[in-house]
Symmetry: C2
Subunit: 572 residues, 2 copies
């Protein structure tokens, strides 16, 4: 499958010793015989035991491709764990990782729980200043950085290790691993004690946020374990699966897919960037069966010129924003099965899914994709999803939560609790208290609940448009505008209006195949889109203004930045 | 699929009210927002929420067939929970259930954790005296009994409810459920508080045992939850699956498949008895995709005259004793994919599996089925499987465990620990201590470990044959003898021998298709089998004696009773 695979030789320190025990030392505190603390690292150790020679990580699209079997990968993770201990890190200390989807990132997310340190994977698209803030806030004591992003930590006082992403023994990262191997003195996995507390902090994920506020979401070992199993199960991932890393691993620890993959014994393919022709090369030639991505990425995939039906079934986990019915239909047309899930960094990524129903086979594609675009119901290992309002927003912990009627109309906030909710905002008791008031985590997403108990997001609370005293959901408007065949992406925000208070304004990018048609005629397009809207939306929800733009402002993780659009509107 | 389905009407008390909240009340003790106690009942509530109208339980092969959707089934479980509370049961009390695979049994295993009582499902094949012992030992305060088995509790002082297995409103069991509904006064699921401690006792499973000793294995909510997920995952059970209840639910709580099925949203078909023509009727007409069974049952299935390739893929979980390579081959020939798992009542049923390897595609069926017959490696939610010996059998808790070399030869005992190990032997601290000495649960099964870390059972410790000072595994001998095409079942035990101390003696039943050939010529068959053995086994392991019998003595769960064969041998 990969031509470079045969030629690749891992460093000699990556080769495990014979009679390698693939288990951590039991805690010195005596655990009951019937109790084992849940730890997502166990999945990797088990994969290395049962399928040692199976390809675990393939990193083919670089000058120096690298390929690791489960056996070799586990040894590299072990080497990294020892290297972290050698560097002086202690239980609960933080390390930062700044890298795209490369083997070092995959290693670090497994090695951190092995060394009992907390990994914080930092978004490579942030500025030097933003990175400095996160390094400071997390108190990171060591940085693993990919050479392409070394400029982001220029001037730092924190020790760092650079990776040239070569996998070769002269690479500084490889030297760091080799030092770890030597420091471990072949004590192996049994030289590392497992964490006795499954609720111990596991990963620290900074939300890039659409609001500008950066928070450090602290997860637990237990939550990561249970979320990973649910993610693997929802897509029916198994030993025959090949997962393509399109979603950045730095995004909410890759939605726990680093551990969903080891749980399911898959092969993971890593790519340094979101490159659509390359994605299609893998879809068509590398047997990809699963990937994750936000709608903006999925739009890029379906609209790429290489797009055509792959020979195998591909399941796409879609989350990060609500996909339009149009997008879901487009994916299915080229043979990609969408699994629409919903979540936030605070919920380890996905925790709900729009569960397919038998009745969907007898309704139109349009109707079905609208149902599929709902956020649906909780995962098996998540707890309940509720839609509530707070009669008195007391800011206190005892604030009552009242469920909205299951009418598909009344809006409230999505809240949840349980094993797939973060432990806390790191070093921010106030923000944690506020997020957890009423005993549930408040998502900030406004939704309705249907009679079948499924939920559908209408908007972020701040994105609602109050038009003539009525609540217009910017998301619902976007869903309808996106069904216009010439629209590539659309974002709708509130704009002040003398008579109605607020009215929707739409920012639109045109589909490349149709853009030429409207060249110099954007006002005509605006009229066309308004006609399209009036057929589908109540008057108060129809866009009063339509602006065609070449690009929409986005966060580093691909979410559309309405804050930026609001700035534009404020100047109008 | 089921002709009686359309005509069936559940009792009016089985119909849930509108706006039914499918969740338990949160514990009054404040749980952290990020923590939800694992509880296998949650899977049923979730199924009833997401797939209310999906067929959950079909019980078609009785005079009065019954069919319950997830929505209705959940209501019946709720009614039963309230009925138990009305009967005066309190948290931690025990109830007994004596029934074959019928809806009442399925209800009880879900309702017990809802009412926070401990269900003990009693083997229907036990004697009145044995049942009396279990009722006494468990301290059961209420009995749910199927009318066919009412004689087993004749004369009891314990209150009981009889089911005529009709699902009709004049059935005493249905009346009990209806009383529960009234007692609940429509407080619904929110009227029941969830158990805050996931390590609380869940089920009490009495082992029938091959040694005559009866022990009460106490499991936990957490263990049941995690074992059920693993079982569902190993067979890739999902919403499209239909599970046939061949394995009795009273056997180790159905190996946690009652919850594996609700986790995976399957349809379950219940049958009152193991009836091979009926099993084949369902295999061929009811879309069965999964079932569990001990090797003796699987032998009955493959040898039934109705056996032919079903139109869909059927996955068979095999456990309870080691299957012969011959059996695995026979299943595959008729299109049944065997999933060979291993466990004990003390491990919630299965906790290891023989994991398929890519290399198996290039070896002979015989070689492959031998590998598949190994017990393999631990499930994802189980902890490590070790093979150990105890240098000084101190009976103390600190007894050291030393791993045998991974040579595929040196025998030791299989031990394990972790989330898929029972909490304790109920009311038997001494037995618990003994079983847990060294910090691991000792299975009593003698095995070897191969270089790949997989384990293969050689024998129960008491079944080993010491022949000329060498250890002969009765299981390994049985495996080879079973490859003789005329052998249906075989059991090998030690018999005293003047010169060698012990020598193997084989008890054999002949395959019905070949029995006539050897009629009156059992000595000739014995010679033929010995020749077959000498080609495959070292001299000390060849059977010195072969006895053809019409039937082998078995426990009520289908395990061959070597204790009975030993009594026969002792008289020779």
């Amino acid at each position: 499958m990969f031509t470079a695979l045969k030629a690749f030789k891992p460093t000699s320190e990556s080769i495990p010793p014979p009679n390698n025990a693939l288990k951590l030392k039991l805690p010195t505190s005596n655990l009951p015989v019937h109790y084992h603390p849940l730890n997502p690292l166990d999945f990797l150790l088990r994969a290395a035991l049962i399928y040692p020679n199976k390809l675990a990580i393939a990193h083919p699209d670089v000058n120096s491709p690298a390929f690791y079997t489960y056996s070799v990968w586990a040894q590299r993770v072990l080497n990294l764990a020892y290297a972290l201990l050698k560097a002086g890190l202690r239980t609960g200390d933080r390390i930062a990782v700044i890298a795209p989807n490369v083997p070092m990132m995959a290693d670090a997310l497994q090695a951190a729980p092995a060394a009992r340190v907390i990994a914080t994977a930092i978004n490579t698209r942030l500025t030097h200043q933003e990175v400095a803030y996160i390094l400071e806030h997390s108190g990171s004591k060591l940085i693993l950085v990919d050479s392409e992003y070394a400029h982001l930590i220029k001037g730092t006082n924190i020790p760092f290790v650079i990776s040239n992403d070569t996998g070769k023994s002269d690479d500084p990262y490889e030297q760091f691993l080799s030092e770890g191997r030597r420091f471990g003195a072949e004590k192996g996995w049994l030289g590392l004690e497992m964490e006795a507390d499954e609720n111990a902090p596991a990963f620290l994920c900074y939300t890039s946020g659409t609001t500008g506020r950066v928070s450090g979401v602290l997860t637990t070992l237990r939550g990561t374990y249970l979320a990973a199993i649910a993610n693997a199960y929802e897509g029916q991932m198994n030993r025959g699966s090949t997962y393509l890393w399109i979603l950045p691993m730095f995004h909410a620890a890759g939605w726990t897919f680093p551990w969903a993959n080891t749980f399911a014994f898959t092969t993971q393919i890593t790519m340094r960037s979101v490159d659509y022709p390359l994605i299609w090369k893998h879809f068509l030639n590398s047997g990809i069966t699963h990937y994750c991505g936000a709608p903006t990425v999925q739009i890029g995939i379906v609209n790429d010129p290489s797009a055509r039906c792959p020979p195998q079934v591909i399941k796409a986990y879609i989350a990060g924003a609500a996909p339009t019915a149009h997008l879901i239909g487009s994916l299915e047309k080229i043979g990609i099965t969408p699994i629409h899930v919903y979540g936030l960094t605070e919920t380890y990524g996905p925790f709900t899914r729009s569960y397919p129903q038998d009745s969907w086979s007898s309704i139109s594609l349009e109707e079905r994709t609208k149902l599929m675009a709902r956020q649906g119901h909780s995962f098996a290992t998540a707890s309940e999803t509720r839609v509530v309002y707070r009669p008195q927003d007391t800011e206190g912990l005892s604030g009552e939560l009242i469920d909205v009627p299951k009418d598909g109309k009344t809006m409230g906030e999505i809240v949840t609790r349980g094993n797939i909710v973060m432990k806390e905002y790191f070093n921010d008791q106030e923000a944690t208290k506020k997020a957890f008031r009423g005993g549930y985590f408040g998502s900030g997403d406004l939704a309705v609940m249907y009679p079948d108990g499924s939920v559908a997001i209408m908007d972020r609370s701040k994105d609602i448009i109050i038009s003539g005293g009525k609540n217009a959901s910017s998301l619902a408007i976007e869903q309808e505008l996106a069904s216009h065949p010439h629209v590539l992406e659309v974002s709708v925000i509130a704009r002040e209006h003398e008579k109605w208070g607020e009215r929707p304004m739409a920012f639109v990018t045109l589909h490349p195949q149709h853009a030429s048609k409207w060249k110099g005629r954007h006002e005509d397009f605006a009229k066309d889109l308004k006609v399209h809207a009036r057929k589908r939306l109540p008057g108060f929800a129809c866009p009063e203004w339509v602006e065609v733009v070449t690009e929409l402002p986005k966060t580093s993780t691909g979410k559309i930045l309405k804050t930026e659009l609001r700035k534009v509107v404020a100047k109008l």
